[in-house]
Amino acid sequence: MIKVKNLFKYIFLSIISIISIFPFAWMLISMTNKSVDVSKGSLIPGTSLFENIRNLFSSDLNFSTSLWNSAKIAIITTILALIVASFAGYGFEIYRNKVRDRVFNILLLSMMVPFAALMIPLFKMFSTFKVFGLNTAAAVIIPSISTAFLIFFFRQNTKSFPKDILEAGRIDGLNEIQIFTRIYVPTMKSTYAAAAIITFMSSWNNYMWPLIALQSPENRTVPLIISTMGSSYSPDYGMIMAGIVIATLPTAIVFFLMQKHFVAGMLGSVKG
């Protein structure tokens, strides 16, 4: 009886795992096939891998430029977001008072604001900017530098930061900024790693705002190019799958190398 129950568990988990992994296998197989075979649902690897990759990079959609655009935006966003959010998370937690606690709660409300409600005013706002206006990487970066989620994440993690060290630092004559840069930052490395992963991923995969803010072809990011290829009248699926594999590689590598930080980053928002 118990054996049967266990068997059921393994079968159930195996089916769910296969369903979860299958689309990955599918994209890897499909990137080696011609578009016709992909549409027919062929599960046999083909010989068109190099042709698909060549088509991808030589197509007039400028895939290589979009890789560069995405990387640039994701890296700059991550660096700036980490600085601003860790400053804020630290500031709200270490220098707690009633007024700032209230401000913090108001900032948290911004998590409930749907992006759909912001896109029109943001579009109008950036269209009036002379520098950092529409069609620049800055227009994509600026609205995502400071998210309430990341501030909350840093604040939650700062709660477990030993406050005695701060006093020790002050007695040693460090000023408040030095305490932050010399004591806090080095101790919180894993929090920074987790935050960097979340931010990099959401920036690398961001679709809606870049779709609106980046109208000119030479500024487009990878998700925009993949979306354009996928919605073309007769999509070349072999080429698209090659593009998707390349687009997924950075996040997949980060995931496998830093699985612990990855999960910690996700969970950081609920604990405490």
């Binding site: 568990k9 988990l13 769910i16 795992s17 979860s20 992994i21 689309p23 990955f24 599918w26 994209m27 549409s39 027919k40 649902g41 601003v84 959010a85 400053f87 804020a88 500031g91 709200f92 270490i94 220098y95 008072n97 900032l107 409930m112 604001v113 749907p114 992006f115 759909a116 409600a117 912001l118 896109m119 029109i120 005013p121 943001l122 579009f123 109008k124 706002m125 609205p143 400071s146 408040e176 900024i177 932050f180 991923m201 995969n205 679709y207 809606m208 993949i226 979306s227 290829m229 996928g230 699926y237 799958m241 687009a247 997924t248 995931f255 699985q259 999960v263 996700m266 969970l267 609920v270």
Partner: protein, 293 residues
């Protein structure tokens, strides 16, 4: 005397650290929110807007596409979120069994969909669910269906395709939260329940679910907010079609602002409906869960 000067010093440091984020969030979230509301009271094409009061809001009641997009969004919410939450809970309870082998493999495999971007997996699903695609081939070959399903071109199946896709992408994500929650439950509670003769099902409903309630609430609220803003998948799998059979509110706002001749005022009014829905639904969920926070 000295202490108060120190406090003042700390207070200044407190603002110094927090001001950049406060300024950015006000400028790029709260200020635009107010702008959106003001815009929603105006009408006209492009940037040539006239003040019309609440006319945009009353227009919503007679707009068939708007009604369609709200209905669709609510269908996704009511059907997909419970299925995903229950599935994720079920998987995590099974995975939490300490005698289970290959636990790490199963967990990684089920979580893997989270590394894909929404656009990337949408395009993959679009190819899998094409009318002559792999999904139909498979179902016909195992004789589950006799003729191919119109995944993209039937109003009913288009919604099902979207629901299957979202469930694939997000179940593992929710599972991770439940697994973390389950680790904090003292195994002794289950031992005691076993001695008292509680079956697995009873343990699930009387121990697991109540103890995970805060996390279930959190994931439900997050999923609700996410589903109400559903955009990437619909744009890239069905384009909202056939007709507007699978469109969502977010996509309708996008279409109103950037695809049809731009009507920012009306689109802003539609966007406020999502804001109101999110606030109401979150409040209801907190109420139902009886959370005091």
């Amino acid at each position: 005397m000295k202490k108060s000067r120190l406090n003042k010093n700390y207070d200044r440091a407190g603002w110094l650290f927090t001001i950049p984020s406060i300024v950015i969030i006000i400028s790029f979230v709260f200020y635009p929110m107010i702008q959106a509301f003001i815009t929603s009271l105006k009408s006209g094409m492009g940037n040539n807007l006239k003040f019309v009061g609440f006319a945009n809001y009353s227009r919503l009641f007679t707009d068939q596409i708007f009604k369609k997009s709200v209905t669709n969004t609510l269908i996704y919410l009511v059907v997909q979120v419970p299925i995903m939450i229950i599935l994720a809970l079920f998987i995590s309870v099974i995975l939490n069994d300490k005698n289970l082998k290959f636990k790490g493999f199963f967990r990684t495999a089920i979580f893997l969909p989270c590394v894909t971007s929404l656009v990337a997996y949408s395009v993959i699903f679009k190819s899998l669910f094409a009318s002559d695609g792999l999904m139909n081939n498979f179902l016909v070959n195992i004789h589950l269906i006799s003729s191919p399903i119109e995944w993209m071109t039937s109003p009913f199946w288009a919604k099902i395709t979207i629901i299957i896709a979202i469930t694939w992408r997000w179940t593992g994500y929710n599972m991770i939260f439940y697994l973390a929650g389950l680790q904090n439950i003292d195994p002794g509670i289950y031992e005691a329940a076993k001695i008292d003769g509680a079956t697995g099902v009873k343990q699930f409903f009387y121990i697991t679910v109540p103890l995970l309630k805060p996390i279930i609430l959190f994931t439900t609220v997050m999923s609700t907010i996410g589903t109400l803003q559903l955009f990437d998948e619909v744009m890239n799998i069905t384009k909202g079609g056939p007709g507007n059979a699978s469109t969502t509110i977010s996509q309708y706002i996008y279409n109103l602002s950037f695809k049809y001749s731009p009507n920012f005022g009306y689109a802003a009014a539609v966007s406020y409906i999502i804001v109101i829905m999110i606030v109401i639904l979150s409040l209801i969920q907190f109420k139902v869960a009886g959370d005091e926070k």
